[in-house]
Amino acid sequence: MLLLVQYTILFACILSLVALGGCFSEHSGVINLGLEGIMVMGAMGGALTMKYLPSDTSALLIVVFTIAVSMAIGMVYSLLLGVAAIHFKADQTLIGTAMNILGASLATVIVKSINTLSNPDDHSSAVQYIEEKKAFIVNIGDFEFSWFMAIAVVALVASYIVLYKTKLGLRLMACGEHPQAADSVGINVYKMRWIGVLISGALGGLGGICYITTGVSEWKFEYGVAGFGFLALAVMIFGKWKPQNIALAAILFGFFRALSNVYFGFDFLVNLNIPSGVYNMLPYVISLIVLAFTSKKSRAPKAEGIPYDKGAR
């Protein structure tokens, strides 16, 4: 039972972080379908950092470095989206899709070539971080507290404050709703959209490293992040692009995702004799059902997906 709670919280944290990333990008007017790819890249950055940090590095430094590198790589990768969507006014759905395909493949190629370089017989795309991973965890009784839980809560609160209590948030959302109006009062729409995309990259990268350190000590990058970026998008939509609702939506989806990890701990679930594949499918099936019924009512930022063109009236 405790394990279920623990995993629910962890998965909810990952989903929240990534969904918040999507939320910033979309509030600025750029649809970020590339979150999946950003997660993979961030995860790779973090995993390699853990691998190459000297073994005597203190736990705190491991946490700080890993997170910093993941966020930085996520941001760098999101430059792709920024340049293409904001600067070249390309179709944002296509860029996002391309980023997802590229993300998983690029990470696989990089990790494989690193592995092969150090050992010519090693063709796997896996990175191990058994020891380093422990730096993120503090045991409180039987409960494994992860620093990511604290970070996600801070991110949720900070996002709420930034969006609704600051100048930046007001301007950001104006650009996603009515960029011409923002422009007419002297707000630089391009700059705001860049900020939105970069924040989204950082949070996506953070979510990536958080994901691959949850429950496992090794990650094969050819798996990407198993659709978690898309699940986060579903959370964002179900959460109506609002941090407080995103937190709730993330807990719901996180619960079903956690169930697939720990259902064997519940006798009555095991006795149902349902194949494990069904539990693995649950979060995705639930997201389909939930969105089919609620997405009609939820209101996306009005101008998202439309490249801003100063000249057009």
Partner: protein, 508 residues
């Protein structure tokens, strides 16, 4: 003594591909005056204001503020100089509150955190002082157009703007709101604000403005004191010739019956009742029949039922002796029905198509425009478009290949009229054909309607404008709550009498 002006725009020239929007235009705004800028659609008013507001850079010319030359590169510069603008299409974020919209861009803040109470105090002070009623916490999407406009005005006042530009502010307002706006503008001018009022409505300019500058086809025509001029003189300046406000026409000589509608009933999309109830009418060749009424009394649904955009709940339509009750839109079109729709953007044009493609929208499948293999005959389409553009004087940047979205409203309407009339219809259904157009275009359209009538066609006009209802048709039918409640001879009735029927106070 030399007069110093609040703002001067001297010899401004602004070119767009294929068109000179502003050709050597000068405009001088005195302090504390209401200065109207008059011109037809496409005369260059909006472009000139966009130059002043920093949205466009002129190729030539200078701008002076209080006698000193200034450079305006973007809206921030304009704001720093105290220039504010209420755009024709409001620049408001719909899901933000009134207060958030007002402070957007100049948010009072401490280290980036919004200080809304400070802003709220200032906004409410301004609101009281200028009698601009708003609810600061209401969302824009929930409030009336009038309050949205007051929000825009407060946006300018909040920024301490001294020069206020109103771009066609009355187009979206009800008569009551227009009156209030005029009073607000007078108050603002009395407080020392200088106001530029862009409009093509002569009566409003005569009522509120001190002086009026006139543009025509991108050129500056002159500036007059409104106290020393008349509406006729202003309209002659604007159009370049004398415009008759009254429509000249001969006595009609109705011939055979073209359209017959029996007991038409159309369901409403808004409520459970029928929007059109048991309407019967006839239109004969060589007459113009007008359906008058206040907006929302079933006219839209009536037209949709007649033209095939919506199915009938009951009744029968006969066109030239043929039952077309269940005919498709194309069949109706081929049988001789032309339709100038109420919403030209939604039902009249494909905005992102070229002008030539829009002009053959109902004929592209004819052998003249499509060969046997199904390919379009581009050359024929181009020639046909050029012919219509010439005949109907449709003005655009790049001729037949202009994207229709970029054309002015008047020219878009002319394109629709060209397409619909060149089909040589038996019946022309014209719904609010002059909506949002200037006097020159209105006169043109009225003449076209009467020419159709004189050529022996049947014309069914649906109009909300009482002047148009009195001047153009040979018979008036008043529609109230989906029913025809009266029939009148325009020569024997008055606007007041029609008003009683339109408001439901009387019925036959």
């Amino acid at each position: 003594m030399e007069q110093t002006y609040a703002i001067e725009m001297l010899n401004i020239t602004k070119r767009f591909p294929g068109i000179i929007a502003n050709d050597n235009i000068s405009l001088q705004l005195k302090k504390g005056e209401i200065h109207a800028l008059l011109g037809e659609n496409g005369a260059g008013k909006s472009t000139l204001m966009s130059v002043l507001f920093g949205l466009y850079q002129p190729e030539e010319g200078t701008i002076k503020k209080d006698g000193k030359e200034v450079k305006i590169n973007n809206p921030n510069d304009a704001n720093d100089l105290g220039i504010g603008m209420v755009h024709q299409h409001f620049k408001l974020v719909e899901c933000f509150s009134v207060l958030d919209n007002i402070i957007l861009g100049v948010e009072p803040n401490k280290a980036g955190f919004l200080q809304k109470s400070e802003a709220r105090k200032k906004v409410m002070e301004l609101s009281d002082r200028y009698n601009l009623q708003i609810d600061p916490d209401a969302l824009i999407e929930d409030i009336t157009v009038g309050m949205q406009q007051r929000t825009e005005i407060l946006k300018m006042l909040y920024r301490d703007n001294e020069i206020l530009i109103f771009d066609e502010p009355t187009a979206v307002l009800t008569p009551q709101e227009i009156k209030e706006l005029m009073q607000i503008m007078r108050n603002l001018a009395a407080e020392g604000k200088s106001i530029l009022f862009i409009s093509h409505k002569l009566a409003e300019i005569m009522e509120v403005a001190d002086r009026c500058s006139v543009l025509r086809k991108g050129k500056y025509v002159g500036t007059v004191e409104t106290a020393n001029t008349t509406m006729e003189e202003l309209s002659a300046l604007m159009v370049g010739r004398n415009v008759s406000f009254h429509v000249d026409k001969k006595e009609s000589t109705p011939g055979k019956e073209i359209l017959s509608i029996e007991n038409m009933t159309v369901a409403s999309k808004l409520h459970k009742n029928n929007a059109v109830r048991n309407v019967s009418l006839k239109v004969r060749a060589g007459e113009i029949v007008c359906i008058a009424g206040i907006d929302g009394n079933g006219q839209t649904e009536f037209v949709h039922g007649l033209t095939g955009l919506e199915p009938l709940a009951g009744g029968k339509i006969t066109l030239c002796g043929e039952d077309i009750t269940k005919a498709t839109i194309r069949q109706r079109s081929l049988k001789g029905m032309s339709h100038i729709p109420e919403d030209r953007h939604k039902h009249g044009l494909v905005l992102d198509y070229t002008l030539e493609d829009n002009l053959v929208l109902q004929r592209y499948f004819e052998p003249e425009f499509t060969d046997k293999a199904g390919f379009l005959k581009r050359k024929n389409i181009r020639e046909y478009a050029e012919k219509l553009i010439g005949e109907f004087d449709v003005r655009s940047g790049q001729g037949p290949s202009t994207i229709v979205r970029s054309m002015s409203g008047g020219n878009q309407q002319k394109a629709i009229i060209a397409r619909e009339l060149d089909k040589d219809p038996e019946l022309l259904v014209a719904v609010q054909p002059t909506r949002g157009l200037d006097v020159g275009a209105i006169e043109f359209i009225h003449k076209q309607l009467i020419a159709q009538r004189d050529a022996g066609k049947a014309v069914l006009l649906v109009s909300l404008e009482l002047d148009e209802v009195m001047d153009v048709p040979d018979r008036i039918l008043v529609m109230y709550e989906g029913e025809i409640v009266g029939e009148f001879d325009p020569k024997k009735t008055t606007q007041e009498e029609l008003g009683l029927y339109m408001s439901g106070a009387k019925r036959m």
